[in-house]
């Protein structure tokens, strides 16, 4: 049952992820956004199979429920026709290829570091107390750094968008 669910969610994630960037039926950004929502939901399903219920709930709550709704909001306010007409560009293809190659390399290296099959005890199953302990003790520095990174991103967006307004 669990294996079946894994393959179901994994296939859903891969297929929907592919349809986000290269949908043969429609070049509509709204369709891409909706497939990204499905991808996120499938990833949440995979988290559940890993017994990381908290991560699954947060994945749905933050990404599918908040981030993607804002995405949709922005996409709907933009001029959609322009995006539908846009064709493949050489630079985009090369840049995308390099990015995919780098990520594949990173994943390969990560997989080599920790061989598959050795199932460990889930460290953050359900209980938020355990997760909080980990985040605010063992991983305090990376956690705070991620917070600063988000703040930098926010300030950057405000600065960039303010400049466009005369």
């Amino acid at each position: 049952m669990e294996t079946l669910c894994f393959y179901l969610f994994a296939a859903l994630a891969v297929v929907c992820g592919f349809l986000v960037v290269a949908n043969p039926f429609s070049r509509n950004p709204v369709a891409s956004a909706m497939f990204l929502v499905l991808t996120i939901a499938a990833l949440a399903g995979l988290f559940v199979l890993l017994h990381a219920f908290f991560l699954a709930a947060v994945q749905i709550l933050v990404y599918a429920g908040a981030v993607m709704v804002l995405f949709l909001f922005v996409i709907m306010l933009l001029d959609l026709k322009e995006e539908e007409r846009r064709s493949w560009r050489k630079f985009g293809l090369v840049g995308g290829g390099v990015a995919v190659a780098l990520i594949a390399l990173l994943m390969y290296a990560a997989l080599r570091q920790s061989p598959l099959g050795a199932a460990g005890e889930p460290r953050v199953e359900g209980s938020t107390a355990a997760l909080g302990e980990l985040l605010f003790r063992q991983y305090l520095l990376p956690f705070e750094l991620v917070g600063v990174l988000l703040l930098v991103g926010m300030v950057g967006v405000i600065w960039l968008s303010k400049r466009a307004v005369p």
């Binding site: 908290f54 947060v58 709550l61 599918a64 429920g65």
Partner: protein, 348 residues
């Protein structure tokens, strides 16, 4: 009962879960159907009218008549709509509002069965996650209609629901600081043992913010801007007819029931009453039924508040809505978290 004993534990789990799902779904649909009638009757009373009284005594068959009418009307699809989203949107409104109730304990126990469909450890996060998905239905309906007023309704709903979701999420943090667990059954257990243990009396500010945000999340007056008839000719559901329109309508009331159930669980002690020992899990079958009755009574009382507010308040303007959400409720919720955390720290 012999047949039950022959089943393995996993088969029993599947059987009882299916029974609970069917039961909760049936009761929820019944509530949705009849709360519409109650709403029309209450509205009539407030406005000094009679209300529906043609179908049966006091109009009690009105929901049936409405359902038959919805099913028999022509399901018309306008030519200019985006078909896929047009079909998807009503389902995307209805499903999340039905799925949210899965983690809410609606009674203590009947026999050996605990009266909750899924007793998740992260119960409340699950609910908030599903509630946050509800906005897709409205946004997609607005987008699918491919015309101006529904589109504005869809955009309004996405901005409004995102804004109030944050206030809603932050308002319940003090509750969980006090309880120390996200599991809704533990939240109820924490509130057992006296009126003063109810979290509405311990955290009145949190309840106030949650209530205001719940009005916004369910698109009810005073925050029903996504379907403001006078400005938008009906909002996101303008292009819908027949059963698809009825699904939006039922979705609103199912959302209302889910929000009321959430408030009963978080602030009003769930299925418990602090008298006659009703705050402990039931030992007899009759006690179990009584607990479910208590839960339903509280649920209906809160839904009556929703209805009452709708017919007493005018609609907010859009800038007032945003001002209230971001500049009033959000700082209040944050201050409440800091105060509660400080108090718990000093007490420890």
């Amino acid at each position: 009962m012999e047949i039950l004993d022959q089943l393995s534990s996993s088969q029993q789990f599947v059987l009882f879960s299916a029974l609970k799902v069917a039961g909760v779904f049936a009761v929820l649909m019944f509530i949705v159907a009849y709360i519409v009638l109650v709403e029309r009757k209450v509205a009539a009373a407030i406005q000094d009218r009679v209300g529906p009284n043609r179908a049966g005594p006091f109009g009690i068959w009105q929901p049936l008549a409405d359902a038959v009418k919805s099913f028999l009307k022509e399901d018309f699809t306008p030519g200019h709509v985006r078909k896929v989203y047009y079909w998807l949107a009503p389902a995307a409104v209805m499903i999340p509002s039905l799925v949210t109730v899965a983690v809410i304990p609606f009674g203590s126990q009947l026999g050996a069965q605990r009266m909750v469909i899924a007793d998740l450890n992260v119960g409340v996060l699950y609910t908030f996650g599903i509630v946050s998905l509800g906005v897709y239905g409205l946004v997609l309906a607005g987008y699918a209609a491919n015309s101006k007023y529904p589109f504005i309704g869809g955009l309004r709903s996405s901005a409004q629901m995102i804004s109030y979701e944050i206030a809603m999420g932050l308002s319940v943090v003090p509750v969980f600081l006090l309880v120390g667990d996200l599991n809704l059954s533990r939240v109820i257990a924490h509130q057992a043992g006296g009126w003063s243990h109810w979290l509405v009396f311990q955290q009145p500010l949190a309840f106030g913010i949650f209530l205001a945000a719940a009005f916004a999340e369910t698109n009810r007056l005073p925050f029903d801007l996504p379907e403001a008839e006078q400005e938008l000719a009906g909002g996101y559901n303008v292009e819908y007819s027949s059963m698809k329109f009825a699904l939006f309508f039922m979705g609103e009331y199912a959302n209302m029931a889910a929000a009321a159930a959430m408030m009963v669980t978080l602030f009003f002690g769930g299925w418990t009453l602090p008298i006659w020992g009703l705050d402990q899990p039931a030992s007899s079958f009759l006690g179990g039924v009584l607990h479910i009755g208590i839960f339903l009574a509280k649920l209906l009382a809160l839904m009556l508040v929703f209805i009452w507010v709708r017919w007493m308040w005018p609609r907010f303007r859009y800038d007032q809505l945003m001002h209230l959400g971001w500049k009033r409720l959000l700082p209040l919720a944050l201050a409440n978290i800091v105060l509660t955390a400080t108090w718990l720290w000093l007490r420890a």
